[in-house]
């Protein structure tokens, strides 16, 4: 059983290293340049930050591929030198990461670890530091492990999967990035932040019953004012009601389907709120 637990660590470590490597590459490709530093490279002088980022990227890529490449050595039953070097390097990498994150936490408490690129913006906490500690222990556990082999029985395969599931759950618990991923997957931008063209607002307004109700009083082809506050866009048209000049104000809620639309009529000279037909009655519809 102990051997099974140790065997699981190799693919797990490789996936973590390559995942972190890909996430960093994705951020670098999207940012097109010098971005706000939210990783331990930010602790170094400016001229060293870029080389250190590349070094981290290369180390993760090399160790991840190295773990996979040296996991199975055909014809051998004892671990050779290359697997030992790669696994020792992996353990050292995560050991250094623990120290760097701890330093980062003390010097820049509001910065994220940057471990998985832009997903790792959450300030570094004990859980974030515990994760490389766990992975360091995992890498140490693989030292001296013979080449990987397929499970010899269904029971062994089930044990293998159970250990993998448990360890993934433990890593997920220690990963603030998981919450960020969940938010992104189900994210819908609040209406206050959603950029919505004015033309669409006008189309929605012109198709509404409120528009048809007041269209006869509107005296200009174009609105005299349009502005937005949060989830509402306001459109003002000059008009005439009961022989007096009025302003007809529409408020359109900025949502795609069946937006609420309200209207009011105001005396253009006195700003008095009038009824729908220009009378001095309750005006808000």
């Amino acid at each position: 059983m102990l051997t099974t637990i140790r065997e699981v660590q190799i693919p797990l470590l490789a996936v973590m290293l390559l995942g972190a490597c890909l996430a960093k590459a994705w951020r670098a490709l999207r940012a097109h340049g010098d971005t706000a530093r939210t990783d331990p490279a930010g602790l170094f002088p400016a001229h060293l930050q870029h080389p250190i980022t590349i070094l981290m990227f290369a180390a993760e890529l090399g160790l991840g591929l190295g773990l996979i490449g040296t996991a199975v050595t055909v014809g051998h039953t004892r671990p050779g030198l290359p697997p030992t070097i790669v696994r020792t390097g992996t353990a050292l990498f995560f050991f250094v990461a623990v120290g760097a994150l701890n330093e980062m936490r003390q010097r820049r408490p509001d910065s994220g670890c940057g471990c998985f690129g832009e997903l790792s913006g959450t300030p570094i906490g004990l859980r974030t530091i515990a994760r490389p500690g766990l992975l360091c222990a995992s890498a140490v556990a693989t030292l001296g492990l013979p080449p990987l082999r397929m499970p010899s029985s269904p029971a062994e395969a089930e044990l293998w999967l159970a250990v993998l599931a448990f360890e993934l759950a433990l890593i997920a618990f220690l990963s603030p990035e998981l919450g960020e991923i969940m938010v992104r997957l189900g994210y819908s931008e609040p209406c206050e932040l959603r950029r919505l063209p004015v033309g669409r607002t006008m189309t929605t307004l012109h198709a509404s019953s409120q528009w048809r109700r007041y269209a006869g009083q509107i005296s200009a082809a174009a609105p005299s004012d349009v502005w937005r506050e949060g989830c509402w866009r306001f459109v003002v048209y000059p008009g005439s009601a009961g022989g007096r000049p009025v302003d007809i104000v529409f408020a359109v809620y900025l949502q795609s389907r069946r937006p609420a639309i309200r209207a009011a009529v105001l005396d253009a000279d006195t700003d008095e709120v009038l009824g729908p037909t220009g009378t001095r009655e309750s005006a808000v519809v």
């Binding site: 004015v198 174009a222 009011a264």
Partner: protein, 365 residues
């Protein structure tokens, strides 16, 4: 039936001084169409000394003007109301490049003063010839001369850093190089600012790459906390109570004008490559709901606990580039949420030479 081609006609040209009445009327129209619920929001936002509109337009603590005469006991200012005399409190302090006695101020200086009590005659603080430049360094000439781009709404300023202030500023702004941000306070001169005080610590990133704000689910939190700063009046009236808001509706405000490409060639091109249009760098490190010029917000100075309803009067997109905190009283949340006019900043109890205060803003939605 209606022509969408006409839509840009009513875009918020924030430099257009001919239409302030249109902007001021928006809060009234909004209250009319959204009904009693939002009217109550506005009355909640008012400070209790009148309706929201009045609360938003009157200065009770602050006076601006040009110094006609000053003695240890009396300050004479030329204001919009004409010549006004203000007795100086025994503890009155003045700033002119540093803390000085009021008698050290000079005739002809432009001054902004704060009364001890609202509407009272006695003055407790005076700032003379104070200025501020916040933006992206786009050119450096030698060790002490910088050209700073304050964004499409404010233009470009020259900043000179004298040897007496160089050490103090470089501690907080280690990268005085094109492409990096700067925010300094100092003395205004013809055509340039003499930088004396760093207004913040330099963000470690290049101006064009501010951090991304966390995603917001549901609705944007209201109220929102962060940093309030101030800016020089520029084209605005000196005694304007207002704020430059970092998130004006991009469909109807300054962002449209800013999107126009700038013509440049030769040496100018080298300068332009460092210029950053804040409208293209995302929302900055705080997500704020879109508003328009004329919208009213309730702003509280968390340090003095003074609150005012302040109208949005201009575009403050450059504030998005600064992902910093204010430490005037405790540590604020990250991000600039309001770029106040000088008058509004002083009215809310801020000290101009400090540069910021921890603020809470209620938008009322």
């Amino acid at each position: 039936m209606r022509h969408l081609a006409d839509i840009p006609r009513w875009c918020d040209d924030v430099t257009d001084s001919a239409s302030p009445a249109r902007f001021a009327r928006r809060s009234l129209l909004r209250a009319a169409v959204l009904g009693r619920r939002d009217e109550s929001d506005l009355s909640l936002a008012a400070t209790g000394d009148g309706d929201a509109g009045a609360a938003a337009s009157s200065l009770t603590y602050t006076v601006t003007g040009r110094i006609l005469d000053v003695s240890p006991h009396v300050l004479v200012l030329l204001t919009e109301q004409g010549e006004q005399r203000f007795p100086l409190a025994a503890s009155a302090e003045a700033w002119r490049g540093g803390l000085v006695s009021p008698a050290a101020l000079r005739q002809g200086d432009h001054a902004i003063v704060r009364r001890r009590v609202p509407g009272g005659p006695v003055v407790e603080r005076i700032w003379a010839e104070i200025g501020r430049v916040a933006g992206t360094i786009i050119e450096r000439d030698g060790r002490s001369s910088l050209l700073v781009d304050e964004g499409p709404a404010k233009g470009r300023r020259i900043v000179l850093i004298g040897p007496e202030a160089a050490g103090r500023i470089q501690v907080r702004f280690p990268r005085l190089e094109p492409g990096y941000l700067i925010d300094v306070i100092g003395l205004k001169h013809d055509g340039y600012l003499q930088a004396l005080i760093p207004a913040t610590s330099q963000p470690p990133y290049r101006a064009g790459h501010p951090p991304v704000a966390p995603l917001v689910s549901g609705h944007v939190p209201d109220p929102v906390s962060g940093t309030a700063i101030w800016h020089e009046p520029g084209e605005e009236p000196e005694n304007l109570l207002g704020l430059a808001y970092p998130a004006l509706d991009p469909e109807t405000s300054c962002e449209r004008a800013a999107a126009a490409p700038r013509a440049c060639s030769g040496e100018l091109h080298a300068v332009e490559e460092h210029a950053v249009d804040p409208h293209t760098t995302g929302c900055g490190c705080v997500r704020l709901p879109y508003l328009s010029v004329g919208s009213l917000v309730r702003l509280r100075n968390d340090c003095t606990e003074r609150t005012r309803v302040v109208p949005v009067t201009s575009c403050g997109a450059t504030a998005r580039l600064f992902c910093d905190r204010c430490v005037t009283c405790g540590t604020s949340r990250k991000g600039r949420i309001a770029d106040l006019t000088m008058a509004a900043f002083v009215e809310l109890g801020g000290a101009l030479e400090v540069g910021c205060f921890n603020a809470t803003m209620m938008i009322g939605h």
